[in-house]
């Protein structure tokens, strides 16, 4: 190990000799504080130009923050909607016809009550589209012009379905379990259907005719939060539909609205509750995993916008580089003077690098603020919760600084190469 030192000695000697010349006088140094003060003065002596120079960085960093903030905000909103509705929705399908020809028909008569007894279930109801004969159509009068009605879907649904769909009623009410149990001839129709059938008010106790059967309209639904197809349908109680048109043929489903977080549990229990002997006749579909949904939404758009932000940053870099280069040429006299006053080449490099870095950092700070303001503004306008990851807010000014430093490399190098002799001749 000691032998290794020997080859080093000849290398060290010239270094010592050089040191002897400087021993008498320590080399000039530029303290960090002086450097910052000089650079800041350089930036501030042309405030207008500095602002314009850092504009590119402002835009780039602003876009960066806004894009990441907006996508984070938007995807958290998607999650919210997902939580509120989709996450509390379980669909149970009747798959008995797939199991064999001898399978019993569909949901038992008390299916709604069986499922509604489960913990965590708010509303449950079986429903199916009614197969009407080609001659049977929905119309608003038994005879006359209105008879030539159009094809309007008729849906048989337990009263739980209407409650689970969370309707907004334009008029009237939804039918309840009593109507359902006793096979009342009532119907709830969507607002669009009402217009098509010419029903404007419930005060006259209008009826719709399905085939030749009359149904009293008890409610007009303006909007639903689930099962939007109900808006285009005439909804009649389940038992009434079975009475008139018979049992469904394997197309029945059940809509279950659950408490938040209970969906998976309900999905596991529902088939057993419906038919303990043959739970395999029912397939419960729980909501998808929200985490999987989030990543899917996040991906593509993010990258496109980040690319745009990167382009903005690049343009900003070129802008700073250009302006700094012009400033170097313009300040040749100053550089020469500083060199004559004892500034070393590296001090000049450091000064111009610091100036461009300060411009970049300043642009980054302003850009970050603007980006955050944008996110907050959009969130306010859309009634969302603004979401900005702290890493994004913290790293954005650093990106601006890095941009400025990168932009200053070439001009600063050029500045340090300026010979004082030539600079002072001007």
């Amino acid at each position: 190990m000691t032998r290794r030192l020997r080859p080093r000695l000849p290398v060290r000697r010239p270094a010592r000799r050089r040191a002897a010349a400087t021993d008498r006088m320590p080399r000039n140094r530029l303290s960090v504080r002086d450097l910052l003060a000089e650079a800041l003065a350089g930036v501030l002596q042309r405030p207008g130009r500095s602002v314009l120079t850092s504009l590119g960085t402002v835009l780039g960093v602003g876009a960066f923050v806004a894009v990441l903030g907006l996508t984070a905000t938007a995807s958290s909103q998607i999650d919210d909607r997902f939580n509120a509705l989709t996450a509390t929705e379980v669909t149970v399908e009747d798959v008995s016809h797939e199991q064999g020809s001898d399978a019993a028909v569909g949901f038992p008569a008390d299916a709604d009550r069986r499922v509604e007894r489960l913990n965590g279930v708010r509303h449950a109801g079986a429903y199916w589209p009614v197969d009407l004969d080609p001659g049977q159509q929905v119309h608003s009068a038994p005879v006359g012009a209105a008879r030539g009605g159009s094809r309007i879907q008729v849906v048989a649904a337990g009263s739980g379905v209407l409650r689970a769909a969370r309707p907004t009623l334009a008029e009237g009410r939804v039918y309840d379990t009593w109507h359902d149990r006793t096979g009342q001839r009532v119907a709830v129709i969507g607002a669009g259907v009402a217009t098509r059938l010419g029903i404007t008010t419930l005060e006259t106790q209008p009826a719709v005719f399905i085939g030749d059967e009359a149904f009293t309209v008890v409610g007009i639904v303006e909007d639903v939060e689930r099962r939007a197809d109900l808006l285009l349908s005439v909804v009649v109680p389940r038992s009434t539909a079975e009475e008139v048109w018979g049992a469904p043929r394997g197309t029945a489903k059940m809509l279950v609205a659950t408490d938040l977080g209970a969906a998976a549990q309900v999905a596991a229990e529902a088939p057993l509750a419906l038919d303990p002997a043959h739970p395999e006749w029912f397939r419960a579909v729980p909501p998808p995993d929200p985490r999987a949904l989030r990543t899917e939404v996040g991906g593509d758009l993010d990258q496109l916008f980040l690319l745009l932000a990167a382009i903005c940053l690049f343009i900003g870099t070129v802008g700073i580089a250009n302006t700094t280069l012009v400033a170097v040429l313009e300040r040749t006299g100053e550089i020469g003077l500083r060199r004559a006053l004892g500034a070393r080449g590296r001090h000049i490099t450091a000064q111009f690098l610091t100036e461009s870095g300060a411009l970049g950092a300043l642009g980054g700070l302003v850009g970050t603020s603007l980006g955050i303001l944008t996110v907050v503004g959009v969130a306010l306008a859309r009634d969302w919760t603004p979401v900005i990851h702290p890493e994004v807010a913290a790293s954005a000014p650093v990106i601006g600084l890095a941009t400025g430093l990168a932009a200053g490399l070439y001009p600063a190098w050029r500045a340090s190469r300026i010979q004082p002799v030539e600079a002072l001749r001007r």
Partner: protein
């Protein structure tokens, strides 16, 4: 005995060709502490080359140059820069003041680069401005100063670092004669306090102030009519 401020030993500068141009023929020169030397010559004769060598802005290609007894030929660039910043005060024809800085800030600039402690700078800069008779204008921007005042600020900047040598390049070239006169008075006063002053000029009235006059003609430095060896 202290070393002379300037000692040139067969120092000359030839710009490499092709063809090689001899800007300053090898010459010898000693300038002792406290002298007031004028260097005259027509433009293009080599005055600038001489200034660059003496001011450590350029190195001679032959011979050696000792500043305060330090052989500058052996120095690395960083050490030359340090030596230049501390031992030489420059006064330029075009002043070279930073336009966006006040008079006192311009003077302070010299102290930033030569390693003066931060707390001393303001007081020293103010003192230097008072010495050149600008104590009342320390916060004025150069654009608000007259030509003579600007040159006084530049002289204050050159003196504030307490250099060994005040090197003036056509200090009155941009000034009218009355102002030039007052600036020359100031240089005289500085010299009277013991400063070594070297003025490069093509103006005979300026040269007349010097206690010693050197002439440069076609790259050759001569003194009092006789060629230096």
């Amino acid at each position: 005995m202290t070393a002379p401020v300037i000692e040139l030993r067969q120092a000359g500068l030839t710009y490499p060709g092709p063809p090689p141009v001899q800007a300053l023929a090898p010459c010898d020169l000693r300038v002792e502490r406290g002298e007031f030397v004028a260097v005259v010559g027509p433009s293009g004769a080599g005055k600038s080359t001489f200034l660059n060598i003496v001011g450590l802005l350029d190195a001679p290609t032959c011979g050696s140059y000792l500043l305060d007894g330090v052989d500058t030929g052996a120095l690395k660039d960083a050490d030359r820069t340090t030596l230049r910043g501390r031992r030489i005060g420059f006064v330029f024809q075009s002043f070279h003041l930073l336009p966006h800085r006040s008079a006192v800030e311009n003077v302070t600039l010299a102290l930033i680069h030569n390693g003066t402690p931060r707390k001393d700078r303001a007081a020293r800069a103010r003192h230097a401005l008072e010495q050149v008779g600008l104590g009342h204008r320390i916060d004025a921007l150069p654009t608000a100063l007259s030509g003579g005042e600007r040159q006084r600020v530049a002289i204050a900047r050159a003196l504030v670092g307490e250099p060994s040598l005040l090197l003036c390049d056509e200090p009155t070239g941009n000034l009218d004669s009355a102002t030039a006169h007052s600036v020359l008075e100031l240089l005289e006063a500085v010299h009277a306090k013991g400063m070594t002053v070297l003025v490069i000029t093509h103006d005979p009235t300026v040269a007349a102030r010097g206690r010693r006059t050197l002439t440069i003609q076609d790259g050759a430095l001569t003194e009092a009519g006789r060629r230096s060896r």
